[in-house]
Subunit: 283 residues, 6 copies
Amino acid sequence: MGFPFDTGATFRVGARFGPAAIRSMSVALRPYNPHFRIDLFKYCSAVDYGDLPTVPGAIEESNRRATAALTPLVRAGVVPIVLGGDHSISLPELRAIAEVHGPVALVHYDAHTDTYDEYFGQRYTHGTTFRRAIEEGLIDTEHSVQLGQRGSLYGERDWQYSRDAGLEIIPWEDVVAQGRAAVAERVKARVGQTKAFFSFDVDFVDPAYAPGTGTIEIGGPTSAEALDLVRRIEGLNFVAFDVVEVIPMLDPSQTTAALAANIAYEFMTFVALQKRRAAAVTK
Amino acid sequence: MGFPFDTGATFRVGARFGPAAIRSMSVALRPYNPHFRIDLFKYCSAVDYGDLPTVPGAIEESNRRATAALTPLVRAGVVPIVLGGDHSISLPELRAIAEVHGPVALVHYDAHTDTYDEYFGQRYTHGTTFRRAIEEGLIDTEHSVQLGQRGSLYGERDWQYSRDAGLEIIPWEDVVAQGRAAVAERVKARVGQTKAFFSFDVDFVDPAYAPGTGTIEIGGPTSAEALDLVRRIEGLNFVAFDVVEVIPMLDPSQTTAALAANIAYEFMTFVALQKRRAAAVTK
Amino acid sequence: MGFPFDTGATFRVGARFGPAAIRSMSVALRPYNPHFRIDLFKYCSAVDYGDLPTVPGAIEESNRRATAALTPLVRAGVVPIVLGGDHSISLPELRAIAEVHGPVALVHYDAHTDTYDEYFGQRYTHGTTFRRAIEEGLIDTEHSVQLGQRGSLYGERDWQYSRDAGLEIIPWEDVVAQGRAAVAERVKARVGQTKAFFSFDVDFVDPAYAPGTGTIEIGGPTSAEALDLVRRIEGLNFVAFDVVEVIPMLDPSQTTAALAANIAYEFMTFVALQKRRAAAVTK
Amino acid sequence: MGFPFDTGATFRVGARFGPAAIRSMSVALRPYNPHFRIDLFKYCSAVDYGDLPTVPGAIEESNRRATAALTPLVRAGVVPIVLGGDHSISLPELRAIAEVHGPVALVHYDAHTDTYDEYFGQRYTHGTTFRRAIEEGLIDTEHSVQLGQRGSLYGERDWQYSRDAGLEIIPWEDVVAQGRAAVAERVKARVGQTKAFFSFDVDFVDPAYAPGTGTIEIGGPTSAEALDLVRRIEGLNFVAFDVVEVIPMLDPSQTTAALAANIAYEFMTFVALQKRRAAAVTK
Amino acid sequence: MGFPFDTGATFRVGARFGPAAIRSMSVALRPYNPHFRIDLFKYCSAVDYGDLPTVPGAIEESNRRATAALTPLVRAGVVPIVLGGDHSISLPELRAIAEVHGPVALVHYDAHTDTYDEYFGQRYTHGTTFRRAIEEGLIDTEHSVQLGQRGSLYGERDWQYSRDAGLEIIPWEDVVAQGRAAVAERVKARVGQTKAFFSFDVDFVDPAYAPGTGTIEIGGPTSAEALDLVRRIEGLNFVAFDVVEVIPMLDPSQTTAALAANIAYEFMTFVALQKRRAAAVTK
Amino acid sequence: MGFPFDTGATFRVGARFGPAAIRSMSVALRPYNPHFRIDLFKYCSAVDYGDLPTVPGAIEESNRRATAALTPLVRAGVVPIVLGGDHSISLPELRAIAEVHGPVALVHYDAHTDTYDEYFGQRYTHGTTFRRAIEEGLIDTEHSVQLGQRGSLYGERDWQYSRDAGLEIIPWEDVVAQGRAAVAERVKARVGQTKAFFSFDVDFVDPAYAPGTGTIEIGGPTSAEALDLVRRIEGLNFVAFDVVEVIPMLDPSQTTAALAANIAYEFMTFVALQKRRAAAVTK
């Protein structure tokens, strides 16, 4: 489902058109994922649920409406894959998820932590999402991890809030130093089989691979590295996903939209694999 | 001065970068306006005051800050020419202007009336600006006029609010039917020498001439016609101006920014001509 | 409904993505048309039927599939408004229309006649559409008219085929010379109340207003003039419409898509007005 | 022939790629001009001579090389149609032309006079071309005219140099006031049958029609008006032409290149008509 | 030579303008290849042969014409380097090549196998090229290899056709796992000194490096890795080359065209090295 | 400070707008550099000095003016970080630097050596900068290094001038072969504590990461590799820096401008670290 909203953006804006762009490029996807050797629709059914209700310019009202629309779906057992929209949308998603599942582990791939207390004096923005979510008790911080942070900061304590709250931060420099395999193991060990939410900000990837986003940070992973880091943590117990911050007006060749569509496709593969495992167990 | 804000936008977004784009194209302007045969800086001094303080994502807070910053300038006798920004910015401007000058006549060139009561349930958006301004008593409606409206409406009574409030609406079809000269005379007659505020939305012009804006309406004036309709009402008693809704990401050849820069230049010419007249009278 | 096909294009290509782009910009349209003072959905119901089936790269096969899909709809009394796609799509549309209604009058606004015998030796292209349609007896040529032709030709007899076939051609130079009102009267007089098909190629309009199309011809009408020429012939007995040749990749500010959406909106208005008239008569 | 040079540009730059872009769009032109009812190649032969030799970054050296390459062609009776390149290229062209034909009448369609004495202290730029040409005695000023000037100036005497030198300036406002027919007669009367050079700067046209150029001035003619003003002066004794200032990087839909290609096509038509007249006289 | 054709494209389209774009960026190439320490034109001569004849919209007819035009060149000993155009062009090329040389080994760098049986029911598309070529006996499958395949598939047997036909597929994941050096040795060992055809689809490279193409697949090689994989197989007995699927409208900074020009340059280097080796042997 | 000049460019042009674009993206930078764990403004003060005076189209005059403006700043102890502008700007910078500091070591990251003797017969271009600087004795060649060269050359001796002059060239292929750590040690060992000038051409980076530049060379470093190679040589005695060749018109998503802003940020970090070290020593 789409979440066409960008009032949470503090710099370059336009992610309200992100869902449409991702859908547009998703038509080139095919049902069989050769990496995991699985035909997705043999194991799960998927539906484009359309867009969640939003109010451009009004973040708190949009959050309320989206949570209200999403909660019954989650309650009905749907595993939502939400297409953003700026990163502020993860908060109303988490409210719906936690309402049904209780606090969940956060797996957060992003160049930023999005745990600032406020931006321009505002408490609800795309840079404060996970601070609010932690304060509201939506996240099981002990099993949560933020991965890929890089770029300049406001100060040396920027990452401290997450750490004090119990999250683990694995900055991109650490991924490079330790290797993707080792880091993926750390993530898997930490999250375990806790119910988890996977939030993927396309600025996690280097801007060469995802130019169409607001707050680019150079020196990040290639799309191959990003895909690898996603695939390596397959097997966790994800109950919801999002992929956010696609701005089509900054994406002249639609490469960012294609990247996001592929990430969503891997997410759908995760669900199919869960279903296949569940089916195998049942037998 | 710039007003880099676009949280009021209900459709295509990005006018927060409008002021920078307009300034960028303004470097090609030269000091002598041959139409009015005047060397601007012989009669007035101008300064780029920088940008008004704004908070992306928070329209009411931005409005407060901008009004607070603008009011002392207006009080000091500055005639502000504000570069937007989406059209919601006219409200905080009008608050500052009315605080000093009392209610002013509105001269509003735009494809839309921007007098809806709400958008998506929100009272502060770029489509409700002048409704709020009228409700707050900032506009001397009897001497005010809206010119250039066209395009599809929500219903037959869309324009009625303005009319009931005492404004005159001259839709673009009427301009075409009556001719620019006659219409300009109507505007001048109506406004008289009331203190006035000129608000120019670039979507007044046909999208061929101003592609870089959010809510385009086809079938509008050429830039030549728009310029003519601006120049013809010179002589009114303007105390403030704005030119709004430039979205650089939708303006690949910077033609919309150039148009806006030229409109601001005509506004500056109006000020110079006022000063010249005042100087002549003094002598 | 969309007709996402562009294999008929002989120069710049990409109109297969035209329908999606037109839909995307159509969200800014509102239900009340102030020119005709009518609330569309009070008089007619409309549905986005999705896209007709096509086969990229295979024009004859696409034509067959589209005609097969469209015919039952026409038979059921639907008045189709087709969003192209290159101009070759009018042929399969006309086959469906004529199957139900018999030969229809053609009202064709375009910079070109599209009546060449072949292009690069091919009989089915976007430049041969109406020749084929005439040969197949789909068009009531005596009541048909082509309007707006301009630009360089292959030879002095390029327009002769249409004339020999009984169509009237009103080149753009004649429209300028005679005036839009007079020309519109000629069109109305010629078509009368014959069942008619309105085909609007966006290259009818000057490329300043419709840059996102394949075969641009400078020196054409503004969007205001084009809109006027559409509106002036309201009252004819249209049974089908299309608006074609939008290429989003050449339309960076989506102005061409907006133009096409507005033309389709006028077409929908025509249907609503027909219904209102029919309802009035019934009473 | 192309003249891929832009070191004379004082603002937006990139016209060195103009000739390639114009050629690219010229493939859509066809041999018969219906306005003048002539098949061009029945009366004249044309060849793409390739590009004149230039040295990026070195204006005086480029001028020398281009004049040296062009002079023998002019001497051999070729009527050159030069595709620019920034407007500084007209100077080396005029040197070659005057070398063979003596001083020629200048017919100059442009938003600017290009007769400044210097820019940033430089004597050879795209804004000083015709001042240098006059100083060098290359122009028969008594039979020359500059048409279409508009936009802000450095001072009230900007246009005085041309007038003092004996040229006639017809600013765009005068064209609007007097009408295109009357103005064209003035041009024809003034030039008479003097050998003439037609220089067409694409910024003559409004930026909606020619966004891909460096120094845009809003409020100019449509492409239809421009084309009309070109066609109306057919019959003069042109010995050379250029069309200049196309910048492809600012021309995302190639509309400016198409406009320039069409202007060059009209120039070629002028040559064909001259030949036809000459042939008729001979018989 | 160019092969400006894109009717075989099933998704994003416009490769008909690919050859012009590649040529445009090729002007920045210089004659000495420092990797192979060779001055190309000391050992081989090269000519831009222009474009092969094509018919937009008609794939089988285009194939016929192109094969007819290419065969005599191949027969005359020319080693063609063809600039595409969509990947359907390799089929008519292979027909010409096999006509002269008999079946050749295929070295195919691509994100896809292009061995589907049909697309939308069509047998001739850019996704079925090599199936047709194998069926027609144009490829010596035992010495052939496809390298770089990745992305989602229609089903688990998508790659089976190639394998059943005797080709080797080395998906991109295998290249990553085994290393480029080892994989290049596999390719060289397999092809040996069989006469070979090198077909390089720019979507082989990650879309960050080649955004200007139709069917992008994320997670691919960098341009450095791609270049390395090309250079490492130097020494094979190539008799023809192509580089395909460049779509300029999706390539705003011309980086894809530059990539393709460089790949063609490496191909030309291969020819020069062959000639140098042959000359050395002769002595 | 900016150096908005591009007359030295021999191919794609427009770097005169580079400084504005880099500043525009620099607003997303924050004061704390986590890699070096330093809050920049605790140790150094920085000011945007505006643009150096230039004359478009006149390289030698621009050089003179820029050197004249820069020299007093360098003399006053300012460590300039210059934002280009094409690479010709390093020459006037070096003249100012050497005037104060004497010949300096050059650390030059670039795909090209820029040590050609002339381009199109011109001695002052962006491809001859460092030849002129060496000839003028501005560079301490024994302690200088050029890193990252790749792409085709004019001949095998292209790199010989640098080597004969005493510079070390480390082509990109050598960096790949030897590893970044080893290469960085070579650079540090060679430069030692000689006063040094760091010149970073954005075409050093692969065009996927820096599309917005004139002379792209494929197969280069990622932005992560580039950043690493910059950071690894921290500790040298830099007295001036520049980052050059950003062309905004070729940078649709502003990724190149963001890269350049980040490189300048690392340069500023170098200065802050120097100051911190100096402060520590003082205590």
